[in-house]
Symmetry: C2
Subunit: 134 residues, 2 copies
């Protein structure tokens, strides 16, 4: 089985925030939307049903925690949660804060335009806020 290794495409698009009980918490490097990625630190998983029952119990609580914290932190109207994985097979869950009038509203963020990288300082400040607030 080997040990957990983050998919290089996910790694290239994100910054490390924290390791929770099951998931690595990452910030998408896209200033257009406050956007977290949760990646369960397990190998060879691509679907929710690939996880063990007990791991799913942890994962849904981590999704819920990320969702509530990100909504509070960003004053978002709605959180979008998605696990797609058509391009990157490694199971990863998108948690995206949405607001009326944002760059893709009310459509999905996936497939909507190109990412805009954070300024270095803004990214560091946001990661700091996330580490405290999540």
């Amino acid at each position: 089985m080997g040990s957990f290794k983050l998919d290089p495409r996910i790694e290239a698009d994100t910054a490390y925030v924290a390791d929770w009980g099951l998931s690595r918490v990452l910030l998408m490097n896209n200033a257009r939307f406050p956007w977290l990625i949760l990646v369960p630190r397990r190998v060879e998983l691509s679907e929710f049903h690939d996880l063990k029952h007990a791991e799913r119990m942890v994962l849904i609580e981590e999704i819920s925690r990320a969702s509530l914290s990100l909504k509070t932190l960003t004053n978002a109207v709605k959180i979008n949660v998605g696990a797609l994985g058509n391009k990157v097979n490694q199971l990863h869950i998108h948690i995206v804060a949405r607001n009326e009038g944002d760059a893709a509203w009310p459509g999905p963020v996936w497939g909507s335009g190109s990412p805009v990288a954070y300024e270095q300082d803004a990214k560091a400040a946001l990661i700091e806020r996330l580490r405290t607030g999540l």
Copy 2:
């Protein structure tokens, strides 16, 4: 609080399949993709974190069950799971079977083209298969 009532926009786009422990299982009336919707039969919920802990434990198992069954039943390459709710506030989870070369591959199904209604007979047959296979 009142009792559970399916959002009329979800009702208009779907057909009833079954009631599970927590969720109503619906088939999206869109022949382009095998597409289920799970709606927890609770009132005034829009986010995962609005559910009680015990309900989330049930919901993630229902998501996992729908995902595995739909994948098996349709021979899909990947299941896409999403909870968006930017237009319809009532918490509902999309479970979509995806295959290379389908109408939106590898992009998301949300925001991709217009639904194509099932033929009446094909829809009835699929619902029957889902009731047996899910």
